[in-house]
């Protein structure tokens, strides 16, 4: 008989162990779909899909937009007070 405890909600302690390992698994760059636990756990599969999705969407966020023109105007004003570096 398996010594893996089953929770009332149907999950097992394997989920906790797997999720503890997730940061290093993500960092390894390996295909997480090959992880044995994911073949039998719908909940952790959904979690991995979501975390991958968040990371992918974040990479699409660059850039936002330009700062207002006042920023460059302020920089120019401040630069006039700086010592010149012209050779």
């Amino acid at each position: 008989m398996s010594n893996v405890r089953k929770a009332a909600n149907g999950s097992t302690v394997d989920c906790a162990v797997f999720q503890d390992q997730l940061p290093s698994l993500f960092e390894s760059g390996k295909d997480l779909n090959m992880q044995p636990h994911l073949k039998t756990c719908e909940n952790c599969s959904a979690l991995v899909r979501d975390l991958e999705y968040i990371a992918q969407q974040a990479k699409l966020l660059l850039p936002i937009h330009d700062p207002s023109p006042e920023v460059w105007e302020n920089i120019q004003t401040a630069l006039k007070k700086e010592p010149s570096r012209s050779k």
Binding site: L61, I64, D66
Partner: protein, 220 residues
């Protein structure tokens, strides 16, 4: 919001959220005329400095805005970052990409600003060690909506704004800006393991925030 094709072209595949194969190109795409402009700006040429501002203002501003979540502060710190660039550009030796060097300078400006504010939530030590209740809970046995394909960029930007500051810093630097954990650890003066841990907690927290937003929408 439009996305430059160079950013889309190097988007990593679905199974490698942490390791993008062309990450260095995504973050530091070659920019025509930049090398010449850097050399001239180092010699004090104002027009070349203005060109560098035009080339990099959007990414520096985006970095500041995402890390601070406040337009006025982000603009102030964008200004401060470029003033520091003007003062320090002569020290740039080309050991790294110029954009990496400039972004590190901008990150330091933001971190200095957060430390000066002296608020409890922006103490770097504290933000990198959030309280237990801010940490990720184990998602065991939950049956809920999945996110895939359902989150637009505005929603994600809002969720990032709502992350605790320490999580937000690491998430923005790694997942948005494409820095590696060793670089982030150097910038934030924390361990690489801490950076990895914070990133995972940030993603878990974002998932919670995005799901709770979906639940609210489903009720309405």
């Amino acid at each position: 919001m439009s996305i430059p094709s160079k950013d889309l072209a190097t988007t990593p595949g679905p199974t490698a959220p942490s390791k993008a194969p062309n990450q260095h190109l995504r973050r530091n795409p070659p920019i025509a005329g930049e090398t010449d402009a850097i050399q001239k700006a180092q010699a004090g040429d104002a027009a070349s400095f203005e060109m560098l501002y035009a080339l990099h203002k959007r990414r520096v501003y985006s970095l500041c805005l995402r890390m601070l979540g406040n337009v006025a502060e982000a603009e102030d710190l964008t200004q401060e970052a470029f003033l520091q660039l003007y003062r320090k550009i002569a020290t740039f030796r080309g050991d790294s990409a110029f954009s990496t060097w400039l972004h590190r300078l901008a990150v330091n400006v933001v971190l200095m600003h957060l430390r000066k504010k002296g608020l409890p939530q922006v103490s770097l030590e504290e933000t990198l060690e959030p309280s237990q209740e801010d940490g990720p809970r184990k998602d065991i046995g939950a049956r809920d909506l999945t996110l895939s394909g359902s989150v637009d960029r505005v929603t994600l930007e809002r969720a990032i704004e709502n992350l605790p500051p320490g999580y937000r810093l690491v998430f923005v630097l790694h997942d948005v800006e494409g820095y590696e954990h060793n670089e982030i650890a150097g910038m934030l003066e924390c361990s690489i393991g801490n950076s990895k841990s914070q990133l995972h907690k940030a993603r878990m927290k974002l998932r919670d925030l995005l799901k709770s937003g979906q639940r609210k929408e489903a009720v309405l």
